[in-house]
Symmetry: C2
Subunit: 338 residues, 2 copies
């Protein structure tokens, strides 16, 4: 059997092997297919109006898991940060830090996943960088993606804009990504039906903005720390309270079962394909209809409302009628989830 080709420090040296790694795997991710076009930066026509700009690093372990992989997360994660500001992705960058000794086939597999996710999200990688560090100085492969987006003309979005009376909406069941990673990591073979919700949120965000315009006050994708962290951030930013109705929050059967078994709260588990919105009450029905018209938003629900105060407090009315505080997560529930 032929020896498997591995990544060496030379692949990060800026010379011949470094060039080959970039040309071989990553140039086809975008529209650039001619290696002679490799310059220090990509040049694009500026889209009309406002730009959104964001960055995210991905260190998830394992790199492949039910429903997703690090490449898909890296593309959709950045696409979704843009969507949360009401922006459609225009261009992505990919920055790789690779540990010496990683199989070259693994890099190719991740590149293929990035390419597929780009096609799904309708965006291209236009610029990239590869660094290789010696064995033991990184864990396999880390990806940074940054993205530029063109902002919807009606978008006036910020966590600061949540207002008393707003309806809190979630686009689908929460916690599926977090529990899928947990299961994959611990080889919990008994837990079937778990799959990451990793998906691009651009169409959901634009449907909401088309339908409800400036009545959409906040959009957020609840990743690390889950729904609880996202709503606590909004409550802090806008200096409002948020009251949720536990019964209304959609959680899939498989995720609920696994959470009960493992003693986890799905409201603290990361989503990678869900949108949380605060929408003025007058537009809430329109907003829900717009979400439900798309397959990814079919299970959208109104889950609570924004109150005047106490500022920063997120509370949950349970099925038994008890109110409990949904704290900002403190400490690390599940490291390297994305």
């Amino acid at each position: 059997m032929a020896e498997e080709r591995t990544i060496t420090l030379a692949h990060g040296g800026g010379g011949r092997q470094s060039r080959e790694l970039v040309v071989e795997h990553f140039l086809n991710l975008g529209k650039k297919t001619d290696p002679r076009d490799l310059d220090d930066a990509a040049v694009l026509e500026a889209p009309a109006g406002r730009l959104a700009f964001t960055t995210d690093s991905f260190v998830v372990t394992p790199r492949f898991f039910p429903g997703g992989n690090i490449g898909k997360l890296a593309v959709f994660g950045t696409v979704n940060d843009l969507a949360a500001m009401g922006a459609r992705p225009v261009a992505l960058s990919v920055g790789l830090v690779i540990e010496e000794g990683l199989a070259a086939s693994e890099v190719a597999r991740v590149a293929e996943a990035v390419a597929q996710a780009c096609a799904e999200a309708g965006v291209a990688v236009v610029t990239g960088d590869t660094k290789v560090v010696e064995r033991g100085a990184a864990d396999g492969l880390f990806i940074n993606t940054s993205g530029i987006g063109a902002v919807h003309p009606k978008a006036r979005l910020s966590g600061r804009n949540a207002r008393p009376g707003d309806v809190v909406i979630v686009s689908g069941p929460v916690g599926d990504h977090g529990i899928a990673i947990m299961a994959a990591r611990n080889e919990l073979a008994g837990l079937s039906g778990l799959s990451s919700d990793s998906a691009p949120l651009t169409e959901l965000a634009f449907a909401l903005l088309d339908a409800a315009g400036e009545a959409v006050h906040v959009l957020r994708d609840p990743t690390r720390g889950g729904l609880a962290a996202a709503l606590n951030e909004i409550a802090l930013q806008a200096e409002v309270a948020i009251a949720l109705d536990e019964d209304a929050i959609p959680v899939s059967e498989a995720t609920r079962g696994a959470c009960e078994l493992l003693g986890l709260d799905p409201l603290y588990l990361a989503c990678e394909g869900r949108l949380v919105a605060c929408v003025a009450q007058r537009a809430a029905e329109r907003a829900l209809e717009a979400l439900r018209a798309l397959a990814l938003g079919a299970q959208a629900r109104a889950i609570g409302e924004v109150l005047e105060g106490p500022a920063g407090l997120v509370s949950l009315r349970t099925a038994l009628g008890v109110e409990r505080v949904l704290d900002m997560p403190s400490g690390e529930h599940l490291p390297r989830i994305c």
Copy 2:
């Protein structure tokens, strides 16, 4: 003595500690100073005309060295990739991957270095992300910076545009960064006077474009692989040959001495504050004058010319009149140089 505070996995969890790390250290790097403004992406007015977009990850070791540090490299590295496309930086992102257990003071020190470099380069960090991985899964701290720039209206730059007859210009002595890292890493106490050339190249690039406009065919900052790699890339991209005059290439006395001692070739050592240009012959004098009018370009020199062929060949006429081929570096001369 108080125990030093260290980074824990909780700082990357997306919850309270993660928020604090971002708020404490990185929000002051940009114009955003109110933590309530922390959203998923930054929103900016699009500059008129064309945009440049680039990304770079930094894994340099040691993180602090004579003449620079990882924060300065991270800012100037991305600013210089933009400059090489004729773009002035508009906004930067910072993505951190931190190893659990790193001293919090070290993160603060790096953040301070990033802030200083931003001030020097006239740019702001507008968006960021922090991930923490467990002990042993990264080596201290890696930074990715991505940048958006506004392209000079006269810029028509690409490695593909080098043309026979162009004059090859370098803005100052080469190899200072590479040898400074090498000395710092090996504690070569005997080698004094070595200092990284790390500096932002925006003003040099704009001075060239203002003076010589579309006669500037290529700009490049010769980082990994040094002048040799940058010129080999250009020769490959444009399918031309490049002939250099060894005597004309500026190398500082300290760098030359250290290279002789260590058996290194300064033409293969990284620069982090030098610009290489291919300029039409009719505009070459104007271009040199424009560079020399700035302190950073005072030692600018014409070092060679672009020839029709053989395509891809870079050659060097030595002081003794011998011609030798300056190959694309193969293998890793000095890992983790940036």
